[in-house]
Symmetry: C2
């Protein structure tokens, strides 16, 4: 029996595909520091846990396809606190950011249409595009220049007759790059010139360092019909298992069409929406210490990487990832080797090979993404193992 072409084409997640090696290592008794996946160790806010405990409906019923009214109103408040003015009907709650991305891609692209995306990008854009029959056209950015956007002409050169949108992740996963207000307006101008949508993945909105401010695509005047924002509570509230996100746009026709996608799958999970809603009032008192914590972790990882001979990386400005280019042939082989053959005092470390974060074949093979989602003690141990592991690996594969 022959499977479909998209089933054969879709990439295995570079974040998760080496998990069998990690499981085998664990079975051998090893402790693994997981820097491969953006699963924070930060406790989920107690009010969110309390919301699960407080669920008292007799029937765990379907909610509206667009999300629970109470939660959409809560989100309007949350966004108002971020300086983004919205109305309830401009928000559709989704099953995590993943579904929001899928809906955004599908509502603007038919089969064979193209989305421009700066690479490296969040690897699962690849999977969603393959499933939906959409082509990602990469605009390559480089570790050496902090993954900043290239000049306009290099971006515009990638736009063709089937290009429907530019997609960005800001703050960037996996790059840690935060686009300045000027950069966002520059992209918006390109979108306006060429009649493109901009899909902006802003799930790391709060995680910007050294007092930077985040610019949402929804803040650009005149871009109302073209701007689509996708979001998620996973990282914001350390609630990756809740699977609650949303898609937001001022474009009414686009939201009407998205609602039809949403109706097909009936609704996002009910109790998890109530749990997410318990967090919408969390403000600076919650985020400031958290941002301080991540900034300290970032510094620790960055400093550790800078000690590795030949490693190239730029200090991330946001999110909680860093891409490091290493003087090795193939980071996937290095990551696998760390799990299969290396350990110090019964411990090893796992990163995510970066090749799957690129659309251009061959790029990123010598790069790895590390997520600084462990506390400083654990991170310090993890980075020590990483450095020693790299040294040993280089002796074996000079």
């Amino acid at each position: 029996m022959q499977l479909s072409q998209r089933a054969l084409d879709i990439q295995a997640s570079p974040i998760r595909k080496l998990m069998p090696h990690a499981i085998a290592a664990r079975k051998r008794g090893l402790k693994i520091y997981h820097l491969n996946i953006g699963q924070p160790d930060i406790p989920t806010p107690q009010q969110m846990i309390d919301a699960y405990h407080g669920f008292s409906d007799k029937v765990l019923a379907y909610g509206p396809s667009q999300g629970l009214d109470v939660y959409r109103s809560g989100l309007v408040k949350y966004y108002a606190n971020c300086g983004i003015t919205l109305q309830d009907h401009e928000i559709i709650v989704t099953t995590a950011g993943s579904e929001a991305i899928t809906f955004a891609m599908m509502v603007v692209c038919g089969v064979g249409d193209e989305i421009l995306v700066p690479e490296p990008f969040y690897t699962n854009y690849n999977g969603f595009a393959t499933m939906a029959g959409i082509v990602l056209k990469p605009v390559t950015t480089y570790a050496e220049t902090g993954f900043q956007l290239p000049p306009d002409d290099q971006i515009e050169a990638r736009i063709g007759p089937r290009t429907k949108a530019i997609m960005i992740c800001n703050p960037g996963n996996p790059t840690g790059t935060v686009y300045s207000r000027d950069e966002i307006f520059r992209l918006a101008a390109i979108a306006q010139k060429h009649g493109l949508f901009i899909i902006s993945d802003e799930v790391y909105r709060e995680f910007v360092y050294e007092g930077r401010t985040h610019t949402s695509i929804l803040e650009v005047p005149g871009l109302e019909e073209q701007a689509i924002m996708v979001d998620s509570v996973s990282k914001r509230y350390s609630a990756c298992g809740a699977r609650i996100g949303c898609i937001v746009s001022h474009n009414k026709a686009l939201m009407d069409a998205t609602l039809k996608f949403a109706q097909a799958r009936l609704c996002p999970p009910t109790v998890d929406q109530l749990a997410a809603n318990a967090c919408v009032d969390l403000g600076a008192e919650f985020f400031e210490p958290l941002i301080g914590e991540y900034q300290a972790r970032r510094d620790l990882v960055y400093d550790a990487l800078m000690q590795i001979p030949g490693a190239v990386c730029v200090k991330p400005q946001g999110a909680f990832y860093i891409i490091v280019k290493l003087p090795v042939q193939d980071c996937e082989h290095f990551v696998t080797w760390l799990l299969d053959e290396f350990s110090i005092d019964g411990e090893t470390v796992m990163g995510a090979p970066a090749e799957g974060f690129y659309a251009t074949p061959g790029l990123g093979r010598d790069e790895m993404r590390l997520a600084y989602v462990l506390n400083e003690d654990e991170l310090r141990k993890a980075m020590r193992i990483f450095a020693k592991g790299f040294e040993a690996y280089k002796q074996l594969h000079p």
Copy 2:
């Protein structure tokens, strides 16, 4: 800004698209009996609610893409109790049946490929197919003959070079038809003859009446590589808001590919899986009274419909829906009229126009789906309003 063709093409849910009329009616003070949506009034089992209350992890973390180990083991037990022998790795937990259907369609069909499906069918198959660029080829069945399958030659006449699968819903939503063991084996023989997959949506497995037994597609010997089963806890445990389902197959390559789809969206909701897992041991002591309850409701609705002059329907054998063919031009107009212009003592009733349950243009316009998901008292009142409403509507639109 132009939206994608699939955004323009996708149908609005016939179950949900008239909700604005219902909301307006409620605002005018009306009570509405909702027979439009399969949202049971049966209380969710207490052990499921308790599982939400008992969640005690510090971090609400990602689970595995294939589902929590504990829940997959629980499902193996559940299926064993249904007479279906499975191993953990033959199950991938999904975000409700919706995602399981999407994965099943995408893993067997590329863009432009076809799936044969007896119509009327679960309306959202339309939406998922449109999103994925898949063509549904209907095999029409009729109210007059209880929506039974046509002879082999009529089914085989619809199979073309791009047909990849036959998709069934058994017990059937919206038809209430339960395929006999012979029917399932007949379909399996067609699939084997033509090298097709069979996707079997079995979310209503337990809801079969008059002591019927349900035959799973997984029970057909020799069909292991071709059989795909999709499932959901929504109806089984009256937990539509939990959004937990699964996709099951013995075909290893197919499950490996499906896991890559699953990895792209990371994981299904964590706490909801734990809640679903609390129900896997529920057996006859839970289902038997429930089935008795639904059977009584079915009889009530069927008998009420039989009193309506010109109504055509066959007593459902399973699930909790009935399709009725009415002597009206357009059931969508009738449903809308019931919401906008009719009421008795401040109450009205809502059904789902059946046209959206067909792929063949024009079919089903004079049919309506009713879900018997209310208790007998409420159903009796709802059916009285329905009958009176029909009488009044016919006088206005003879």
